[in-house]
Symmetry: C2
Subunit: 182 residues, 2 copies
C-alpha cells in the first residue's frame, strides 16, 4: 500500500495500472483485490492514509513547540517549504483532484475534507499566534503553499516555488503584524 501511494503520487492515479503497482510491491493483482474492492477503493484508502498523516502533522507541530503558537507557525512554514523542495510532484490530494474530473468520485469527499481541515487548523494557528487578520493570513498561506506545489510542476525547482519561505514570512509580518524575525 505504501508502494501504491508512491506510484500514484509519482505517475498519477490514472497513469499507473494495478498490475504495475502490485508488481512493484512484490505481489500480484489477486492479492490486492482480496483487500480492496476496486482501484477507486484503493485510491480512496491511500488518500485516507495520507489524511491521517496530515492530521498527525498538526499534533507533531504542537508537541515540537508546546504553548508557543508563533514557533508553531514558523515550524509550519519550514515544514511546508520542505514539502515543496522535496516533492517535485506536488500534493497527492490536489493532483488527484485534478486527475479525477468527475465531481462525484468518492475520493473527492476525502480531499475536500482534508483541505478544509487543513485550512481551519491553519486559521486557528494564525489566531493563536496573534496575527492581526488570522483568517486572511491563513487563506494566503494556504494558497501560497498550494500554488507553490503546483508551480513546481510547471516551472521547475527554480521558479517562484523556491521563494515560498520568503513569501510566507512576508505574509505573517505584513499581514499578520508579527514583528520582524521574532
Amino acid at each position: 500500500m505504501t508502494t501504491a501511494r508512491e506510484m500514484f503520487h509519482q505517475h498519477g492515479v490514472r497513469g499507473v495500472g494495478i498490475e504495475a503497482i502490485t508488481e512493484a510491491a512484490g505481489t500480484n493483482k489477486m492479492t490486492l483485490y482480496r483487500h480492496f474492492a476496486s482501484k477507486d477503493d484503493l485510491i480512496v484508502e491511500c488518500l485516507q492514509r495520507a489524511a491521517k498523516e496530515s492530521y498527525l502533522k498538526w499534533d507533531e507541530l504542537e508537541q515540537q513547540h508546546p504553548g508557543d503558537p508563533k514557533a508553531q507557525l514558523r515550524a509550519w512554514i519550514e515544514n511546508a517549504a520542505e514539502c515543496i523542495s522535496g516533492d517535485w510532484r506536488g500534493c497527492e490530494m490536489a493532483n488527484t483532484a485534478v486527475e479525477l474530473a468527475d465531481d462525484d468520485h468518492p475520493a473527492k469527499r476525502v480531499i475536500e475534507e482534508v483541505k478544509k481541515n487543513h485550512r481551519n487548523c491553519l486559521a486557528k494557528l494564525c489566531a493563536r499566534a496573534g496575527l492581526d487578520q488570522p483568517e486572511l493570513a491563513a487563506d494566503m498561506l494556504g494558497l501560497l503553499l498550494e500554488g507553490a506545489r503546483i508551480s513546481r510542476q510547471s516551472e521547475g525547482q527554480e521558479g517562484p516555488s523556491a521563494r515560498f519561505k520568503r513569501m510566507a514570512e512576508e505574509v505573517i509580518v505584513t499581514v499578520g503584524g508579527l514583528g520582524d524575525r521574532t
Copy 2:
C-alpha cells in the same frame, strides 16, 4: 479544435478520448488525424493556442489602461478573479502538467514557457506600477492565483479561492506599498 480544448479542460487530457472529441466537434477520427500527427500533438497545439491567448491578454491589459500600470495591475487582479470564479476546472496548463507525469513530454516545454512568461510579465507590471518589492509581489500574486485555481477543485467555490481578490489587494497594498484603494 476549440472543442478539443474545451474537452481536454473539462475532463482532463487523459480522461477523454479522441473519438469523443471528434464526435463532439461533429466530425470523425480520420479527419483529425489528417491534421494532427497524434493525440500528444493535438494536446501540444491546443496548449500553444492557449499560450497565444495568454500573450494577447497582456496586450489587452495595456490597451485597456494605456500608460496606467496601476490600473493595469488592478485589471489583472479583476481578470484573475474572473478566471477563478468562471473555470471550476482550474488552469489548462497547470492541470495538464499534473496529468502528464513524464517530464519529457513535449507539452511540458510549452507549459513551462507560458508560466515563466506570465511570471515575468507580472513582475514587470508590478515594477512599472511602482510596487516596493515587485519581484516578491509578482511571485506572491502568481502563486496566489495558481493556488486559488487548484484550491477551487479541492474545496469548491466557497473555499479560500473565493477570497482571492481580497488577498491580492492585500499583497499590492502591504507588500507593494500601494496606497489603500487608489
